[in-house]
Amino acid sequence: MAIDSLVLGAGQQVGKSCVVVSMNGKRIMFDCGMDMAYHDHRRYPDFSRISNSGDFDSALTCIVITHFHLDHIGALPYFTEVCGYSGPIYMTYPTKALAPLMLEDYRKVMVERRGEEEQFTSEHIVECMKKVIAVDLKQTVHVDKDLWIRAYYAGHVLGAAMFYAKVGDTAMVYTGDYNMTPDRHLGAAQIDRLQLDLLISESTYATTIRDSKYGREREFLKAVHKCVAGGGKVLIPTFALGRAQELCILLEDYWERMNLKIPIYFSSGLTMQANMYYKMLISWTSQKVKETYSTHNAFDFKHVLNFDRSMIAAPGPCVLFATPGWLSGGFSLEVFKHWAPSEMNLVTLPGYCAAGTIGHKLMSGKPTKIDLDKNTQLDVRCQIHQLSFSPHTDAKGIMDLVKFLSPKHVILVHGEKPKMATLKGRIHSELGIPCDDPANNETVSISSTHYVKARASDTFIHSSLNPNFKFSKSISEDESGSCLKDRRFMPQLQVTDERTAEGILIEEKNKKAKILHQDELLLMLGEKKHEVRFAYCCPINVSNLEETKSTSDNVLCTSDRCSWLQLLNNKLSGEISGGNIQDFGEHLQVESFDISVCLNDKCPYRIIDTQNKSEAVFFCCTWSVADEKLAWKIISIMDNFDCESH
């Protein structure tokens, strides 16, 4: 059986995440995002590839949304309300709560500011949200009889989750965006050790390795503290959800410790409402916030006040959080216009600003004058601090997650092509896991696991109950070139427990598979035990053979045979120390090695073409594989043995 992953978006690009995975007859769409860079049909995934007929309900089993960012959810109302999908949609509780805010905000910006044609209406959003089934972390949800999904904490933003999906024996994880290092308000991604056929991971920072977050925090706090200590104003343009809360917790904590009394303001609007959600959704935040919220909710910002437009011109130091993040317009730009001309003030910019925004202009070089529009030019004398906080995991985090989960196959999405290629190479070479980075609208097919259920026989179960470990000393050179090689100077003590190794899987036609204990096998098959033995007919030179022969009419009498064996026995017990030689009269036995005098001239095991066979007495030797070394040792002794008869 195979898993087919159709990448509709975020293939070798960042934006409009959408992957449709088919496994064992079920089809799941992971994320349904939009690309903010386009304003035509390219902003949405090409849904026609799912179903030409447009009957999405029968083509898809369900949709799973990882978090509320628009590049993961933006196309959802369009898909459900305009394209007509009406099947189940799963997302976490916080995502369900916050997604309508994001969508509505986006719709407003599109329609009211840019005057674009509406792709979907407010009613569409409301209707769409009605189809959503909210899930909790680690809650196993049975979508239908065969498919079940489970959400794991992903960090990144409030409510972000990785999703585990399983159909029959086939299992996979879709990570969405995640963060492997905790920040001030969210924890690190957390997942169980699962047996996976496929892992679909984001790879925004496929080659970047980030330094300690402490350094970034220190720089930020130092800049802010220096500015307010000098009486300046700090403008922090952010988007309403996520970064604003993280920075605010950071500042609050610092304010508390340093006993600073300078006011921190939030511009009214979305942010305050978002804070309320954060306060309610405490269980989705970091350990620290969770631990302390009973005494003090970290989102109850003590020092934070509401900002009033009239305060822009008020004197004295302050810190202000204002939307939107890139100074692309709105309130943050308005404040910026007022505060930029003073060198005392500080503006912090996020790590990434979309091209064309004021934020982007400020980041490129250090401009002293900025053209706001055709007619106005602004003097920028304030300091500019660039933040490098990011809620995405870095390359090391991706590697750690892949290592931890060790799936059979990895698909990378949500990244830039050349960087993804590098990471793909690393995953393949360092971890030995096959990896793909498909482009949009490509399909990757991989094979999946199929398990066989088997009954176990009573004997096997019984033998499995009792411990049965053995110790062995092995020289570790043959151990797949591991670092153990270096310990060549000492043999390795190995422990093995053979319990399961003693089982044998039997699959008969038209019958259920069964595991037997190895002792039961012959009984069941009605066969006898076969043993492979080596044989060699070994000549020994006997100098005075003739003499003896003459007396016995060319027929070696039993007593002679015995005497030769006796001789051989003496010789061998002299040479083999500790070997347990047993004399059975007719033949000698050492472990499984058996020697008897061979009287058959046409013995098939005689290799040497003996011209002067009269000179030799032949001994037929047989032994089993286990004693091969011993056998060759004895044979070499016999080869050198010159039988001086009597």
């Binding site: 047996q195 390795i209 971890l431 896991i433 411990p467 000393k473 591991s482 000492m490 399961t500």
Partner: protein, 1035 residues
């Protein structure tokens, strides 16, 4: 009663067994009866082995030691060897082990039990029996090699719980140190490494402990390849090999080369495992530098890339190794859980000793950790820096300063004080940083004036370390100082005061530039003598300081030359724990002229300044060697910090102080290691913290400015009572206190008395005065015999007392005079050095709960079996059992220790205590606790307070606190008087009327403070059928 013993071969009914039990536990059951019960039980065991019967037999053996051999044999032959049930066999093993525990003559018998039996039981199919046996393996005295083999084998068990126990067992075996075979050690090590990749968190964390334990043995046993193994261990700690062994647990067994996958432990998904990993990392004290450096960078370092090798690790795996080692510590320090961050900080302590370059890099990170949101982590980071500073690996740079000095403004006292401790030791590279530090200290002083003493002390120390910078700073600021001094010489400004402290430290630095401090500065400093001397108590007392200042104000050249002569004096390898008595002793031992004293003042200073921070590195390194020191040192650090919070108590920051003390307690709670002698020390420190806590609460009432809401008279009285109690425990429950230590405790007792006498409202002056005088006489005798210089407070108290005795008693009770005394008190630092033993008792009533009450017949005495464990008691200690009923009627029983074995450190015995007056009720609850008499003369007075009403135990409280408070002395005293019954009845001890006290030592005084009070509610239930009578005469 014979019919209770059935003669048929039927299994014994539960009722029969229950009645047997009653007979067995009743000490007065005739011997013949016991023997017949034994026979019945043995027969029953032969026919139908049963765990209840086993239990009874082992109980029988423990109570009737004459039968223990018989029982042992019977259990062995009837249950252990013949049983078919594995569970029963295991239970009988348990029984045998516990029988041999109670009877030492059987210890050889248990040795003779076949190891094979144990092993074969382990190999049985029952998992619970297997895990039980493995957990209890030590009790059966299995040979270490066999044990090791078993544990090693069971690390392969499919049940994770068994694997975990096996690994823990391996750690246990490693500690015995018996295993010396290299390949064995190696085998254990490698097996544990395999399990680092286990699916279960618990197994992984146990595996880390095992890898660490065996790895360290491996490192120690391979002298020539030490570094190789150390690196191997270090790297292994960080990752684990999921190799083919794991395919056993993973159905998904890939055969690709990546089978052999490495995964970092420090990056494990489970928090427990991560903490364990960093704890283990902190135990390794030898690692290649390049590995260490790599752990601090998430990127693979350029040098490492070039060399293509990492430490002593094999080159072929370089890529994977490097990428795994990379940034592990960084990850640890920015973990989501503060436990992990703290552990990572802690691990840096040992690691930074290894390499200076690493220490530098680590410091960059640590400075950032100072910005952590958890106070514990910030504090841990500072403590780690302190460690680095004492090892001379703390190289501060300009970039660090913002963060580091920022902590001086932290709102948490502990953080500020930790930072200042580091500042004392740190060597600043240039004057800019020096100025920066100075300014921050001033800012600290302005924001938190209660830190003044400590800040001055830091200024003085830094001044000594940076003489040149001081001189140039002072020269620039001298004008400012002069201005401030104009007119009335009022150095109110904190800055000016700080500058003065800085200035006067200069002559003690090593440079030649000392003379350039204008002498007038020193005379200015004299005006601040009180404030400065309070800060410098650890270096010199007020007189010495005055002498030093006046000398310097005449001429600074003097000290410079004098000092050079004194350079050769030996220095003490103590970081910042000062023992002022050492030096002051010699001075006061003989009479000297004033100029000589001045020189001595200087010499005292000098002997201190010689203790340069950097010279401390070597002796400190040895701290790791001794486990004992590892605990004692932090304890002493805590005690040092306790001393530091005295100013806060003094200035009334009570809440803050209490919070701090709570933190100390939490910190103390982490020292659970039961290595020699440290338990006593930890318990002592806890008790000491209690005392300080009460003291802080009391002090609040003596603050002039504070307005205490609703602080009635009673409250202060109550706290003072508590304080008394704690102090008494401190004195009576620990043995091994040195003279000095006792003196320090007595000083606190004196302080308590003084506090009482200060308050007019408290009307017990006579008793308190008496206590004060007895204490003073005790103090004086100690001072005389140990030849110790008394503190100012002690000598002032003595003086006042003399005065009182001479004058009439009317005048003596002048609270004002006592209030004056308080000014002289300052808390001196307690240093624990020798071994302290805590007198402790544990009391349990076995097999008793509300479901399972003891039977009794109402109005007849009942025997209560008490399992008593005594720690560190001698036969001189007089112990009492106190039994009280719901209705407050109480009865005391004396425990004659001579009857209970020799006076070992720990003695364990079972004692059947008679309780005489059982009520006429179906059931009742009895509380039993245990107390020790203490024989201080001063205790008598206590009885006047409180009285019986207050100290009555709460009826249903879980922890009933101290039962035998002062009022018990009252009871006891009355006993000896003619009409004791009547008076005893008055205070609710009516039960005594029915039975006079049985044994009574004619000691002069009997009173209270106890041991650890163990209170138990014993439920007794009336059951006529099962009732029996206790033979009272037995006692």
């Amino acid at each position: 009663m014979e019919e209770l013993v059935p003669s048929s071969s039927e299994p014994l009914s539960p009722q029969t067994l229950a009645s047997f039990r009653s007979f067995i536990i009743n000490p007065s059951t005739p011997q013949s009866k016991i023997s017949s019960i034994f026979e019945t039980l043995t027969r029953s065991l032969q026919l139908t082995p049963d765990s209840l019967v086993l239990n009874l037999l082992s109980e029988l053996a423990s109570r009737h030691s004459n039968l223990s051999h018989l029982v042992f044999d019977s259990v062995r032959s009837n249950a252990l060897l013949s049983s078919e049930s594995i569970r029963l066999a295991a239970e009988s093993l348990d029984a045998l082990a516990s029988i041999s525990n109670t009877d030492p003559t059987l210890s050889t018998a248990i040795d003779e039990l076949d190891d094979r039996l144990f092993v074969s039981l382990c190999f049985g199919p029952s998992v619970s029996v297997r895990s039980w046996l493995l957990r209890n393996a030590e009790r059966f005295r299995i040979g270490p090699y066999l044990l090791l083999t078993l544990f090693l084998g069971f690390t392969k068990d499919p049940y994770p719980y068994v694997r975990k126990i096996a690994l823990d067992g391996l750690v246990g075996v490693s500690k015995s140190g018996i295993i010396e075979d290299r390949s064995m050690i190696n085998g254990c090590y490698c097996r544990a490494i395999e399990l680092l990749g286990d699916m279960e968190d618990q197994v992984r964390s146990a595996a880390i402990r095992t890898v660490s334990a065996w790895g360290l043995i491996l490192v120690a046993s391979n002298l020539e390849t030490k570094l190789y193994w150390s690196d191997d261990l270090f790297v292994k700690e960080i990752f684990t090999e999921i190799n083919r062994t794991l395919t056993f647990h993973r159905v998904n067994g890939r055969t690709s080369p990546s089978c052999h996958l490495l995964c970092s432990m420090g990056r494990d998904m489970s928090m427990v495992v991560r903490v364990e990993a960093f704890d283990a990392l902190g135990k390794i004290n030898l690692v290649s530098e390049d590995i260490l450096l790599q752990t601090l960078s998430k990127r693979v370092l350029a040098i490492t890339k070039e060399k293509r090798s990492l430490g002593q690790c094999p080159a072929e795996q370089f890529e994977i190794l490097a990428s795994n080692v990379a940034g592990v510590l960084v990850h640890g320090l920015e973990d989501e859980f503060y436990e992990v961050r703290k552990s990572a900080c802690h691990s840096l302590r040992t690691l930074t000793i290894i390499s200076a370059e690493f220490a530098g890099e680590a410091l960059n990170l640590l400075m950032d950790v100072l910005n952590d949101d958890s106070m514990f982590v910030r504090l841990e980071a500072l403590e780690t820096m302190l460690h680095m500073a004492t090892c001379g690996h703390l190289k501060v740079q300009g970039t660090h300063m913002h963060m580091f000095l920022g902590t001086l403004l932290d709102s948490n006292t502990l953080i500020r004080s930790a930072t200042r401790k580091i500042l004392k030791l740190v060597k600043l590279p240039n004057i800019e940083l020096f100025r920066l530090s100075f300014d921050s200290l001033i800012e600290n002083l302005e924001k938190h004036p209660q830190d003044e003493a400590d800040i001055f002390s830091v200024l003085f120390h830094t001044g000594c370390n940076h003489g040149k910078f001081v001189v140039s700073t002072i020269n620039e600021a001298s004008e400012e100082i002069d201005q401030a001094s104009e007119g009335k010489l009022g150095f109110d400004s904190a800055r000016v005061a700080a500058l003065l402290v800085l200035a006067i430290s200069a002559p003690l630095s090593h440079g030649e530039h000392v003379c350039s401090i204008p002498p007038r500065i020193f005379s200015y400093a004299v005006t601040l003598l009180g404030r400065i001397s309070r800060a410098l108590t650890d270096i010199m007392d007020q007189n010495a300081l005055l002498a030093y200042l006046s000398q310097c104000s005449i001429s600074t050249t003097f000290s410079a030359t004098e000092l050079n002569i004194r350079r050769g004096e030996p220095c003490l390898p103590v970081a910042n724990i000062e023992i002022p008595n050492d030096t002051s002793n010699e001075i006061d031992g003989s009479t000297r002229t004033s100029s000589q004293q001045e020189k001595d003042g200087a010499s005292k200073l000098q002997s201190w300044t010689m203790r340069e921070p950097l010279e401390l590195a070597a002796p400190l390194g040895e701290f790791q060697v001794e486990v004992r020191d590892e605990v004692m040192k932090p304890i002493n650090l805590i005690l040092a910090k306790v001393k530091d919070i005295w100013p806060s108590i003094h200035s009334g920051f009570t809440n803050e102080v209490l919070r701090t003390l709570r933190n100390f307690k939490e910190e103390l709670a982490t020292f659970t290691s039961d290595s020699l002698g440290t338990i006593g020390a930890v318990a002592f420190t806890l008790q000491y913290l209690q005392v300080i806590k009460q003291l802080a609460k009391v002090w609040e009432h003596f603050l002039p400015a504070k307005k205490l809401c609703s602080s009635g008279l009673g409250e202060l009285d109550l706290i003072l009572g508590k304080l008394d109690m704690r102090l008494r425990e401190l004195r009576s429950r620990f043995t091994g206190l040195s003279m000095e230590q006792e003196l320090q405790i007595l000083e606190l007792v004196l302080l308590t008395c003084t506090l009482r006498l200060c308050k007019v409202e408290i009307c017990c002056h006579f008793a308190t005065l008496k206590k004060l005088s007895t204490t003073v006489s005790r103090v004086e005798s100690i001072l005389k015999s140990a030849n110790i210089e008394p503190t100012i407070f002690i000598s002032e108290v003595g003086k006042l007392l003399c005065l009182n005795e001479m004058s009439s008693s009317e005048a003596s009770c002048n609270p004002f005079m006592f209030k004056e005394l308080l000014k002289h008190f300052s808390l001196s630092q307690f240093v624990l050095c020798g071994r302290l033993n805590q007198i402790k008792a544990e009391l349990t009533i076995p097999d008793n709960d509300s479901e399972n009450p003891l039977p009794f017949v109402s109005r007849l005495p009942v025997g209560i079996p008490c399992d008593i464990t005594l720690h560190n008691t001698s036969n001189e200690n007089k112990l009492w059992l106190r039994m009280s009923m719901d209705d407050e009627s109480t009865q005391f029983v004396f425990l004659d220790l001579n009857l209970f074995g020799s006076s070992d450190e720990v003695r364990k015995f079972t004692y059947v205590a008679p309780f005489y007056k059982t009520p006429n009720a179906i059931s009742f609850t009895l509380r039993v606790c245990m107390g020790m008499e203490c024989l201080f003369e001063d205790v008598l007075s206590v009885k006047k307070y409180g009285g019986p009403e207050r100290s009555r135990p709460a009826l249903y409280g879980i922890r009933l606190g101290l039962f035998l408070t002062g009022d018990e002395s009252l009871i006891f005293k009355h006993w000896r008087t003619v009409d004791f019954c009547k008076k005893a009845e008055d205070i609710g001890a009516s039960s005594f009327m029915h039975k006079p006290p049985i044994l009574f030592q004619e000691s002069l005084l009997v009173t209270s403070p106890l041991f650890q009070v163990v209170c138990l509610a014993i439920s007794l239930k009336l059951d006529a059928m099962e009732a029996f009578i206790i033979n009272v005469g037995a006692f």
